[in-house]
């Protein structure tokens, strides 16, 4: 599926996740965050960076991973990305939605 975000045409799946990370920019991340009523701050970007690095390293994302990340604790994570933190933050980060149940 094609979608225009921040004046750029990108490929997304039916849930709105980018299917090609090379198309991702910070502007696109900001725009997706806005769609979820999230105003990006430095703390948000820190989490997004961490997520992108982990995905790049091939590590499966989980809530326990967030706890151990050293970047953020779980309470802050829920506060920064309301309505399903891992789901929302991965969408902003332009990486696939995590498939794990934990």
């Amino acid at each position: 599926m094609k979608k225009v975000i921040a004046q750029t045409e990108i490929d997304v799946n039916e849930e709105g996740y980018l299917t090609d990370f090379s198309q991702w920019t910070k502007e696109i991340g900001t725009e997706i965050a806005n769609e979820h009523n999230i105003e990006m701050t430095d703390s948000h970007w820190q989490v997004v960076d961490w997520i992108q690095n982990k995905v790049n390293e091939g590590v499966a994302l989980s809530i326990r991973g967030i706890k151990k990340s050293g970047v953020i604790d779980i309470k802050q994570f829920y506060a920064l990305f309301p309505g399903g933190p891992l789901k929302v933050s991965t969408k902003i980060a332009g990486v696939p939605k995590p498939k794990s149940c934990i």
Binding site: I63, R64, K67, I74, K87
Partner: protein, 157 residues
């Protein structure tokens, strides 16, 4: 689009490790989807929120057909400990946290954790016996009253 479930409310009544994890994983899964979650620990389920017992829950080797072993073998000394050890090893491989850490994750995620008043009294427990993350001790009626909106689901485990 999207789920109509707004709040998942679990009643954990057993202390088998598989039952406890079913409740924890489903409650955590709800929070991860932006759904509210609560767990009411009653009867043997209270073991999962007792500081001294929570990390020593077992898988049942007797009376558990899924173990695929004769009941008499399951009853041999050490069998339950062995099966539990093996299961915990597999769970660790999937990055499933131990019970105490899972409780911490759930609490930090905003999942409410309640102890059943009747069972708490029946087992002569003290507040000190229970986890620090506990949100309170409730009666059944209190718990039902927390199902205060459309889209609440109550699941007995």
């Amino acid at each position: 689009m999207g789920t109509k479930v707004k709040k998942m409310m679990f009643i954990l009544s057993k202390a088998n490790i598989d039952n406890a994890y079913a409740a924890f994983i489903m409650a955590n899964g709800a929070r991860m989807e932006g759904i509210e979650a609560e767990i009411f620990f009653t009867f043997f389920g209270l073991e999962a929120i007792q500081k001294k017992k929570m990390d020593h829950l077992h898988v049942a080797t007797v009376g558990n057909p899924a173990m695929h072993m004769p009941t008499m073998i399951g009853g041999l000394p050490g069998m339950e400990a062995l099966a539990t050890k093996m299961m915990k090893k597999e769970m660790e491989k999937l990055d499933m946290p131990p019970v105490s850490e899972f409780i911490e994750i759930l609490s930090d995620s905003g999942c409410k954790l309640w102890a059943c008043k009747l069972a708490y009294e029946m087992f002569h427990l003290k507040e000190d016996d229970l986890i620090d993350e506990l949100d309170g001790i409730l009666t059944v009626g209190d718990f039902y009253n927390r199902a205060d909106q459309d889209g609440c689901q109550i699941v007995f485990i």
